[in-house]
Symmetry: C2
Subunit: 206 residues, 2 copies
DNA sequence: ATATGTGAAATCTTTCACAGCG
DNA sequence: CGCTGTGAAAGATTTCACATAT
């Protein structure tokens, strides 16, 4: 059932299903239906069933889905049944906030190293991690086999950082800086930019 | 040409066009083509032309687009040819980082007020803004006619905050907390959740 | 009685390809 | 000649609706 080229748009919804299912589980709920889950996240029941059916038959007719089982399956599908080591580049305000966010650990993402090129910041501690000079990024990242990175440097520095990350073998980049990064085809980039989201909403305001 | 129910998926690309165009303008470039712009952000030239043509004829055949003119048009379309006052709810680590981010001001978004319900934080200054008690959120937000809000409180508090914002007349919410918010149809919500993005990428890693 | 999984239909989105203008 | 704007075609995605299993 798997790997018959499942569209990325489907993949993009799976983490949202997982998030909602984990939320239900936290409330002690053990079973749900595509209808209930859909109401919770604003997606049609048919779409949820269709999406999940790409990967297997996880439900029981007449009864719905076992949440613990479905959560486990989604962990497997999304490759988050393990810990992912990450590097964080940029130890400014945003970098600090991200480094201190507990949610990463709770979901199996661990910040292993933090880099910056500001001498004032190098050597300082964020939590229990020492900020390292950016000159060591490529070497250390490659030596640790790290595949996931987050960029929180200013826009003017972001492409150079991305180039170094690619050189170091990183394959997934979460980019908080407000520019489009140019990377090879085998490297995945996701963007977080509040301005983009705000403008998408102001469009609909008088 | 406008308002023939243009799909939201088109609206969602407009801010990215604007971002790239402003970037070109910063480099002193005055003219571009759908091809060049598309190469820059990884979108086909045909799609860019089609998207823009929903709103008017902004280009010149044989010559391409005047960047200053197109930027101005996109500002009008996205309603960002003005300043939007915003409220920020949640003065923790992330709230601080966001409150200090210069990018908002540069794009016409201004944080007018910050709220929190932690007595330790109330009364403290973030930049030049004093953190106010959440009990005053509805009243102050409504009195100032503020329509845009950002939520950076823990997931457990986010829905209650959203309810208050709706009560206060807010119509656009940028939600940094990792839950789906339930709001009336006329209220727009956008989500920023790094875990969702990371899981979407780990899917593609071995 | 209830809710899944799924072909088929409907809808939406993107790409093609070219007339037409500068 | 180059590049836009745009109908038409192709392709992708979502919804429908129902056979099927508990």
């Amino acid at each position: 059932m798997v790997d018959k080229m499942i569209p990325d748009i489907v993949v993009g919804r799976l983490p949202r299903y997982l998030q909602a299912l984990e939320h239900l589980l936290n409330e002690g709920i053990q079973t749900t239906s595509s209808q209930e889950l859909g109401d919770l996240i604003g997606i049609s029941a048919a779409q949820i069933r269709k999406d999940l059916s790409q990967y297997g038959e996880f439900g029981k007719q007449g009864r719905g889905y076992s949440i613990p089982f479905l959560v486990e399956q989604l962990h497997n599908i999304l490759n988050v049944n393990r810990t992912w080591e990450m590097v964080l580049v940029g130890a400014g305000n945003l970098g600090h906030a991200i480094a201190n966010y507990q949610g990463f650990m709770e979901h199996g993402f661990h910040i292993a190293m933090i880099f910056d090129n500001d001498p004032e910041r190098i050597g300082t501690l964020i939590g229990d991690i020492e900020v390292q000079p950016e000159s060591m990024l490529v070497d250390l990242t490659r030596r640790h086999g790290i595949k996931v990175a987050m960029i929180t440097v200013p826009a003017s520095a972001a492409q150079a950082v991305a180039d170094e990350l690619v050189l170091a073998g990183v394959l997934a980049i979460l980019n908080y800086s407000p520019i489009t990064l140019i990377v090879p085809d085998n490297v995945n980039v996701q963007y977080i930019d509040p301005i983009i989201h705000l403008q998408r909403m102001t469009y609909y305001l008088d």
